[in-house]
């Protein structure tokens, strides 16, 4: 038991964000007398925040290098415009339109990456310029007005739900989306298998393993929370398409950052660029690809946002960059680079999302919401720095 307590103490900061997110959800559940946790609201919460979460994944890589990308909000507007021109004006097949839009995002990212990596213009300046340039291009492209609507299939990217070949089942007198439940069960099995494998490996290599009791508790908690959300979705219309996309993105980028050589190189460059360079890492190319990737994900966010609104407007994506950056820092990224995780950024993004959503349900005005979000960001980063300086002085 004492061993378990010591472990919890040591790793508390690691799970601090998750605990904070859950506390926030419970807090708002009480304040909104349960509205926050209703199936329809949770589904909306995911739909409303999906594009910020997509941006946060790309932004995480930027913050790992010790930089940010201020242009993503404008890129969202520009790519939305590109998609609209392709589909609405030219009547292109939505699949081709999406592919071309994503490629356009890569070009935007590569453009910025080029100046940052090879000409060595500070990322802040390049992306500040990009913020103006892309917003301007979006206005030019859309001639200052909105363009829509989009084909049905395109809209379903952001607002659709996975189909149910089983036609739904009824449990305890309530209709449920069967495929969603099946996916949930499979996901839990996969998570559990991964956990068991990694624990076996850790024991084999003599790592600092979690005490067994806590490990069991953690997994029960993990499965319960996954199943909770799955059941909530199943009670409404099932799993949204966008959640599948998000899940895949998180999985892919988590894998890249944790398990692959390019991921390790990003952390090394962010931790100490000079050392990384002198160790033979092509630091310029790392920066180039990080920003190219940000362009790709900004394009994806732009597509999702346009699909959700069912219209492309030159004002789209205003201030998105700040939400994405805030998500990363609330999720534990270090301002100086080298520290941060994909999962952390997602949790940070959800934290902001729950905060917005909860306050909206309570009827807090947009004015106060802004101010409160500002305080939360400041508090989160200050707390992070404080706890770090405390652990260092020990």
């Amino acid at each position: 038991m004492t061993q378990s307590l010591a472990y919890i103490k040591k790793h508390l900061t690691q799970y601090g964000m998750i605990i904070a997110l859950i506390s926030l959800m419970i807090f708002f559940s009480f304040l909104t007398s349960g509205v926050l946790m209703t199936p329809i609201n949770l589904t909306n919460l995911i739909l409303q925040n999906s594009y910020i979460l997509i941006l946060a994944v790309g932004m995480l890589l930027c913050t790992l290098t010790g930089n940010v990308d201020l242009s993503v909000g404008s890129a969202v507007a520009l790519i939305g415009g590109v998609a609209a021109v392709l589909m609405v004006d030219l009547g292109l097949n939505p699949l081709f339109a999406v592919i071309i839009s994503l490629l356009a995002g890569c070009v935007i990212g590569a453009w910025q990456g080029f100046w940052i990596a090879f000409i060595k213009v500070p990322a802040f300046i390049v992306t500040l310029a990009g913020m103006l340039i892309f917003r301007g291009f979006a206005l030019v492209l859309l001639k200052g007005t909105s363009k829509g609507p989009f084909p049905q299939i395109f809209q379903s990217i952001a607002s659709g739900f996975i189909g149910d070949p089983f036609g739904g089942i009824t449990l305890f007198g309530k209709p449920l989306h069967a495929l969603s439940l099946l996916i949930g069960v499979l996901l839990c099995a996969a998570l559990l298998a991964a956990e068991i494998l990694s624990r076996k490996k850790q024991i084999k290599y003599n790592f600092d393993v979690m005490p067994f009791g806590i490990w069991i508790l953690k997994n029960i908690f993990l499965i319960l929370s996954v199943m909770f959300f799955i059941v909530v979705f199943a009670l409404y219309k099932g799993i949204p398409n966008i959640l599948i996309l998000l899940g895949a993105l998180v999985g892919i980028y988590h894998f890249i950052t944790v398990k692959t050589v390019p991921g390790r190189h990003v952390y090394a460059v962010g931790g100490n660029a000079k050392t990384a360079k002198l160790s033979g890492i092509k630091t310029e190319w790392v920066m180039f690809w990080v920003y190219t990737n940000m362009g790709l994900l900004a394009a994806l966010a732009g597509i999702v946002f346009a699909a959700r609104l069912n219209v492309a407007t030159p004002k789209a994506g205003n201030m998105f960059e700040l939400d994405a950056i805030a998500a990363c820092y609330i999720g534990g990224s270090s301002v100086t680079g080298g520290v941060g995780t994909v999962v952390g950024a997602i949790i940070g993004g959800l934290f902001m999302g729950v905060l917005n959503n909860g306050m909206s349900i309570m009827g807090v005005g947009i004015d106060w919401q802004q101010a409160i979000k500002g305080f939360v960001l400041l508090g989160a980063v200050a707390f992070d720095l404080y706890s770090k300086s405390k652990s260092r002085s020990k």
């Binding site: 490996k201 084999k204 692959t260 050589v261 090394a268 050392t275 360079k277 160790s279 033979g280």
Partner: protein
């Protein structure tokens, strides 16, 4: 020793960090008008003791008493200890680089009237202190235009301006060349004789101790081992080393059994210009070669171009308009980028391991695999068990003292950090290993281990280039010695017949 003569007495100082006793019952006395050397291996507690004295660790964070100038002191921060007359000069200088000498001297207590700086008085007063210290510079010169040696003197002037009674210097000569070191030590003696300022000198260089110190206190494992009066006892360096490490080190350098083989790496007509000032030649027509299993020493003053030679060869990291040819095992090779240099078998251990050698926030494992990550990855996916195994093997082989390979590099001592950097490069399996000041700021015991590793590598056939400012190290470790002076190779000497005098005569 009558009590009157005592400037500082630290009694029974104990300081605990969670899980470690950094100091246990340390006593330390400094007399008025003396230079007191504080020596000990890294981790012996020297810095901790000085941090307590200067108030970095406030009263209450330690137990024991500090009596300074006859009064019991309970400093709660650095400001208070400065007011009492204690100034500490750290290894990393605390100067503002773009401000002038005069501005830096009075930083924090500006010569001002009603909030407006009195520039005439600032300059005039600065000149007084500068003259005292023999610093012949314009007080308006920005300090980043000065060499490290002179910057250090500005630091001392800053301390003098605060009416210092006790000056603490943490390895002041670590970054200085021979000449500047001599000047600095002379200056400390003058301050003592002419101005009655006592000085605590933390150092790893024992020749400095015997040159200027009146008293030596040796710390080991957080305890005072002994305090020796230098002039009376006629102490030998061996004696100090013995009490520092707690065992006898019969030889400073381990025995060597390697035999040089064929030439591995050859550089011809290597010429390099300054990166910002393309008119300025930094290296002029350098020619040298290294054989397999050979340790080649590079001696020279700071600024003679040794580091620039290494970094320009290593993927043209330094310099511009580089011309010349490089040959690896007889074949001409292109070393234009660092990945190419590594691919062709070159490795470079930098002189500044914290800034250029390690990602401090990452653990031993990640630092070890950094230069050769491909070797533990399949199709770009890191093979975790392979990487772990490699890091563990190196930790074992190099005797890296850490609880596990998941320890972050910033929490390691200097010697262990250097072993991690060496692991990183040995794992990259180079043919030629360039070591730039590999034992700077490393304690005696760890130095010996590093020397053993270098010899071991040479015995395995690696060609080693050893750049060092410590002459005994160059002579003791090398087979052959190149001496550099002002961007040229001024001599090539056989290490067997080389002497310090001979090397110095070619350095200037």
């Amino acid at each position: 020793m009558s009590e009157k003569n005592i400037l500082l007495e630290m009694k029974d100082i104990t300081k605990e960090f969670p899980g470690v006793k950094a100091l246990s019952g340390v006593s330390f006395k400094v007399k008025k008008k003396e230079i007191h050397a504080l020596v000990g291996e890294n981790g012996a507690g020297k810095s901790t003791l000085m941090k307590i004295l200067s108030g970095v660790y406030p009263y209450g964070a330690y137990s024991g008493d500090i009596i300074f100038d006859g009064a019991l002191c309970r400093f709660s921060d650095i400001k208070q200890s400065e007011r009492a007359g204690i100034a500490i000069i750290h290894q990393e200088l605390a100067l503002s680089p773009y401000l002038s000498i005069a501005e830096n001297i009075f930083l924090g207590h500006e010569r001002a009237k009603a909030g407006m700086i009195d520039w005439d008085k600032t300059r005039a007063d600065a000149l007084v202190y500068m003259q005292k210290l023999g610093l012949n510079e314009n007080p308006d010169t920005p300090v980043n235009k000065l060499g490290v040696g002179k910057q250090q003197i500005v630091e001392i002037a800053k301390a003098l301006a605060k009416d210092v009674k006790l000056l603490i210097l943490d390895e002041p000569t670590a970054a200085l060349n021979e000449r500047d070191s001599q000047n600095l030590l002379k200056l400390l003696t003058e301050l003592k004789n002419n101005h009655g300022i006592s000085c605590v000198l933390i150092t790893h260089k024992l020749n400095e101790v015997s040159a200027v110190a009146d008293t030596v206190t040796v710390l080991r494992d957080g305890r005072t081992i002994e305090t020796i009066e230098v002039n009376k006892a006629g102490i030998s360096e061996e004696k100090i080393i013995k009490s520092m490490v707690g065992r006898e080190i019969t030889d400073m350098f381990p025995k060597r059994s390697h035999k040089p083989g064929d030439t591995v790496f050859e550089v011809k007509n290597w010429t390099v210009f300054h990166p910002e000032n393309p008119q300025r030649k930094i290296l002029d027509d350098i020619n040298f070669s290294v054989r397999a299993g050979e340790v080649v020493g590079f001696a020279g003053l700071m600024g003679s171009g040794r580091t620039e030679l290494a970094t320009s060869l290593f993927g043209k990291y330094y310099g511009r308009n580089i011309s010349g040819k490089t040959f690896m095992e007889g074949k001409e090779v292109n070393l234009d980028t660092i990945p190419k240099a590594i691919k062709h078998g070159l490795a470079y251990v930098t002189e500044d391991r914290k800034e250029y050698g390690l990602v401090l926030m990452q653990n031993i494992k990640n630092n070890t695999s950094m230069a050769n990550l491909k070797a533990v990855a399949d199709y770009g996916v890191i093979n975790e068990s392979g990487e772990t195994k490699t890091a563990k093997e190196f930790k074992e082989k190099m005797n890296i003292k850490a609880p596990s390979i998941y320890q972050t590099a910033e929490n390691l001592s200097g010697g262990n950090q250097q072993k991690v950097v060496l692991s990183k490069w040995i794992f990259a399996a180079p043919k030629v290993l360039i070591l730039d000041e590999p034992t700077r700021g490393i304690d005696v015991g760890a130095k010996y281990e590093i020397y053993t590793i270098i010899n071991e590598l040479a015995r395995g056939g690696m060609a080693c280039v050893l750049i060092s400012s410590e002459m005994p190290e160059v002579i003791g470790m090398s087979d052959r010695i190149y001496v550099m002076s002002e961007g040229r190779i001024s001599a090539e000497l056989d290490a067997k017949t080389a002497t310090q005098e001979k090397i110095i005569s070619h350095m200037i």
